[in-house]
């Protein structure tokens, strides 16, 4: 066993979607190990299978073959209750489309996962306010999503993802619907979280800005892992990054 703990392990995962009579193989055998506390970016062009992999790791969808381990537990073996617990306590999700619950205020969105986790209401509200403060939205806690900008909604989503102190934050193109500078703010926020809280961050993206903050970059192409680069390798080959990402 390696000395660093693998918080996520993906073993030979494939995923085939049936579109009528046609089979679309979105993942063609992915092996991946992610050490705890890392900031990992999954880079690849649109349609390369990033979201599919994101759903597999997050226990939101089941692989056609292969296994996903979280903390060395095969998540296909979990029952509905344990899976809900995993989604509630172990993983925080961030989506490209924010997915803030429209009928709830910012604070209610952040406290909902804590309610599911059995946290008392006052405690949840207190912690929800702290988290909103952390993402710089303490004064907007009573706002509904439609009263918030995209960047602010994504901040609420980040606060919500942190609600139950998850070990892993999964983000699927968190900057995909944001303008350049707002996207940068979100990336900085995520980076700080990984540094200060030791949260493992796994972010699917095709945003080159993510490269600077990643400890590890997993390049994915056509449902296969093309290449895994660590931070050091990245800085050496940084000149070629732009060319490769555009390809």
């Amino acid at each position: 066993m390696a000395s660093v703990k693998n918080i996520v392990r993906v073993a030979n995962v494939t995923k085939t979607f049936q579109l009528g009579k046609i089979d679309v193989q979105a993942l063609k055998g992915v092996d991946l190990e992610i050490a705890a506390g890392q900031y990992v970016s999954i880079m690849g062009p649109s349609g390369s299978g990033k979201s599919t992999l994101f759903n597999m790791i997050g226990g939101l969808d089941k692989p056609s073959t292969g296994k996903v381990f979280i903390d060395e537990v095969d998540i296909s073996q979990l029952d509905a209750y344990e899976l809900a617990w995993l989604r509630c306590r172990k993983i925080g999700y961030i989506f490209q489309t924010f997915n803030i619950i429209q009928v709830m205020t910012a604070l209610e969105n952040v406290t909902l996962p804590m309610t599911f986790a059995g946290v008392r209401n006052e405690t949840a509200v207190e912690k929800g306010m702290e988290l909103l403060q952390l993402v710089g939205l303490a004064d907007r806690f009573q706002h509904k999503p439609f009263e918030l900008s995209g960047g602010q909604q994504q901040r609420v989503a980040i606060a919500r993802a942190l609600a139950n102190d998850p070990a892993i934050i999964l983000a699927d193109e968190p900057t995909g619907n944001l303008d350049l500078s707002t996207g940068e703010e979100i990336i900085t926020l995520l980076k700080n979280l990984s540094k200060e809280r030791g949260v493992t961050i796994i972010s699917a993206t095709h945003d080159i800005k993510m490269l600077n903050v990643s400890d590890q970059v997993v390049w994915i192409r056509d449902g296969r892992i093309d290449k895994i680069e660590s931070r050091e390798e990245l800085t050496i080959s940084v000149g070629r990054i732009d060319a490769r990402a555009e390809a």
Partner: protein, 232 residues
């Protein structure tokens, strides 16, 4: 083997919080209530057919209560008036009853109402796929989703059917008063009218919950990815 292999929270957390996923009843009711309040117009449409059908049911049974009240006076003129207004009273009858045709129409209207509710609720649930998917990502169990929908339907049912039943009863009393005079309001047993209103409200609640069952099951059983991928 499996028990030890489950993911375990850090020790400090597990002391504070039990390893479980919960949604307390108080919180469920608050969420369901808020959901209706925010989508008030939508809820109104969903409940409208119920209000109408229940008020019709209540109208018919209060009408019967009134007819019985009038009959109990033993006044032959009132008896004649009742027969003229359509009650099929034989000389030996001491009680009036709604005609089979009326009952048939009431049942039909309730059936139509259930179909209407199922339809409106299916639409409402489709609109909320993303919300449901998100909740599931945050750790909601299938039965939380089911419970929220059933709670919403019972609240809508209680208020909608309650109002409908009252309106139907009121309309029945007024229209009978116009036809038979004040005796129409003074002679019926108040308990009977109350019972009619209560039964109509109860039936309405039941139909509201019945109508949401299928849509709520569909929603609750959805996988989070399916739910969030759904366009609307």
């Amino acid at each position: 083997m499996k028990a030890t292999a489950k993911p375990t929270p850090p020790a400090t957390e597990s002391l504070q919080i039990h390893r479980q996923v919960v949604l307390p009843w108080g919180k469920s009711i608050a969420i369901a209530f808020n959901s209706i309040r925010v989508r008030f117009f939508r809820s109104l449409i969903t409940t409208m057919s119920l209000v109408l059908a229940v008020s019709f049911l209540s109208f018919v049974s209060v009408n019967t209560n009134v007819a019985n009240g009038l009959l109990s006076t033993g006044d032959p003129a009132l008896r004649q008036a009742l027969i003229r207004s359509g009650y099929d009273l034989q000389p030996e009858d001491t009680r009036a009853d709604s005609s089979p045709k009326q009952r048939w129409i009431v049942i039909l209207s309730l059936l139509v109402c259930v179909v209407g509710i199922v339809n409106a609720q299916l639409m409402a649930v489709t609109e909320r796929f993303r919300e449901i998917g998100t909740m599931k990502c945050l750790g909601a169990l299938d039965r939380f989703v089911l419970r929220l929908f059933l709670l919403e339907a019972s609240m809508q049912g209680l208020v909608g059917a309650g109002l409908g039943a009252l309106a139907g009863a009121l309309f029945a009393l007024l229209s009978n008063a116009a036809r038979f005079g004040t005796q129409a309001v003074t002679t019926p047993v108040p308990g009977d009218i109350l019972l009619s209103v209560a039964i109509a409200t109860g039936v309405g609640c039941l139909l509201s919950v019945l109508g949401v069952l299928y849509p709520a099951f569909v929603a609750a059983r959805m996988q989070p990815v399916e739910a969030m991928r759904a366009e609307h």
